[in-house]
């Protein structure tokens, strides 16, 4: 599903953000990507959805070399990937419904189909009652769930979440991971970047750990 072959990433005049990363992620896997701040987690995620280009190496997404995708065709890759950002990246002056509907609207889906899908997705994340609220008028935890709903509504093959629980308390964090687990059960490959080891230990999933841009650990999590 996702393969990294000797991937390097170096930003202009800085140290290597990623160095010789080799990894393979299978379809339907649930992965915690961990490491200290600045370890390269966000960079690795950005390489997957091609917001950044690798300095060296190859990344295959569904056997397609992502570095060869021209800018004009990038939307095709992006439609296969749902992204939950650390800062949510929601449109605060729009309603919850409008935010969640965006991935379907950009594809030109019909209004009735969009309405139906938005309703079922909001039910999945437990936000049906906030549908008509402005996003700026709901809590941080609810905003996080809106971001998740927006990421999954388009039936992506991969869901990437960058510190999805970073701003939440433990209880809400667990709730969010449970929602993500539920989504993962439908076959969506899940890559969650977090540095919250307590949370990781609560869920037995594969862990990929980065340190100073290098992959230092890749193993199944046995702790419960």
């Amino acid at each position: 599903m996702i393969q990294f072959f000797h991937v390097y990433k170096q930003y202009f005049r800085s140290n290597e953000a990623l160095s010789d990363i080799n990894l393979s992620i299978e379809r339907g896997e649930f992965i915690f990507l961990t490491g200290a701040s600045g370890a390269g987690k966000s960079t690795l995620l950005k390489l997957i959805y091609k917001e950044e280009e690798p300095s060296k190496g190859q990344i295959l997404i569904d056997s397609i070399n992502s570095t060869l995708i021209p800018p004009g065709k990038l939307y095709k890759l992006r439609r296969q990937i749902g992204i939950v950002f650390q800062d949510f990246k929601l449109m605060m002056n729009r309603t919850v419904h409008e935010n969640v509907a965006i991935p379907l609207l950009v594809r030109g889906d019909k209004k009735a189909a969009v309405e139906k899908k938005v309703n079922s997705t909001l039910a999945l994340v437990g936000l049906s009652h906030r549908k008509r609220y402005l996003t700026s008028h709901i809590s941080g935890g609810e905003q996080q769930r809106v971001a998740i709903a927006r990421a999954v509504i388009g039936n992506p093959k991969i869901l990437i979440a960058d510190e999805p629980t970073g701003n939440l308390d433990t209880e809400l964090s667990i709730e969010i991971i449970r929602i993500l687990e539920k989504i993962n059960a439908s076959g969506i490959t899940m890559i969650i970047a977090t540095h919250d080891m307590n949370l990781i230990n609560l869920f037995p999933k594969r862990i990929i750990k980065l340190d100073k841009g290098q992959l230092v650990l890749d193993k199944a999590n046995e702790a419960v």
């Binding site: 959805y49 917001e51 800018p71 004009g72 990038l74 939307y75 095709k76 992006r78 439609r79 992204i83 990246k89 929601l90 449109m91 965006i102 991935p103 609207l105 950009v106 594809r107 030109g108 927006r150 388009g154």
Partner: protein, 300 residues
Amino acid sequence: MKFMARAVQQALNNILRNKTVNFLCLGIIAFTLLVPGIFNYISFNLDSYISKLSENIEAIFYLREDGNSADIEKMLQRIQGNLLVKEVGFTSKDRAQMKFTQEFPELQYILAEFSDSPFPASINVKFRTDARNVVQIESFIRDIEKNSIIESVQLNLDWARKIAMIKKFASFAGFFLSAILLIVSIFIIFNVVKINIFYRRDEINILRLVGATDWYIKTPFLLEGLILGFLGGLLAGGLLLVTIRVFPVYAKFIFNIVKQLIDFRQLPLRIFWEMVITGSAIGLFSSFISLRRFIKTTPG
């Protein structure tokens, strides 16, 4: 269709969201289109005036005594073949004398002193009435005049020459001012769209990340420029119409001088639509440049 409806709605929302900036922009576009519009209008009227006067343009080529009929026939054919020429007539020496006798019977005694007609044969040419032809007519006449069978030419093009010069000056000044103002207009719309892009940069980034195509993102901005330009053109047309109606009332002292040259009763539809189309084109072009720069400088 649905895509365009969304894009139009989005563009209108953008315009209404930044009302102050956009209405200011609209005013500036209208002004920048009004100035060339006024010059275009003056030029149009001068054209019409010259056309009206041109109905009487006639040249008489007096022929040399020694010109043979074959040369005259050849010359007549040459003149007739020119697109500027409406009518050609030949007046022989005898015919000229006859005309003189008919028109001035009391002066017949003068002719008695001549054994032959003292009047030269001539070719009379009437030209088509198109103001743009004045310069060409003049050049054509000068060309014919060089021929060896032509003795002299009689015509009066001084008035047309002067008006053509005024028109040329109006066109040049209009073009020069228009060019400057159009550049200003492009620059303003470019910056308004840039501000709107900047204002919505987060939203654009989100749209890209959820898989929107470039055109899905760009179209509302292009339409925004197009709508601003279109509305600016309409406003400029309206202002020109008002100017035409109001000018004669407030400028009575010079009105008498210019009323012969300019028809203040109506604004030709052609000029009105030219302003609207120019405005729309400027708007679209400016947004397009703004978006090109945006696409080049924004990651993702």
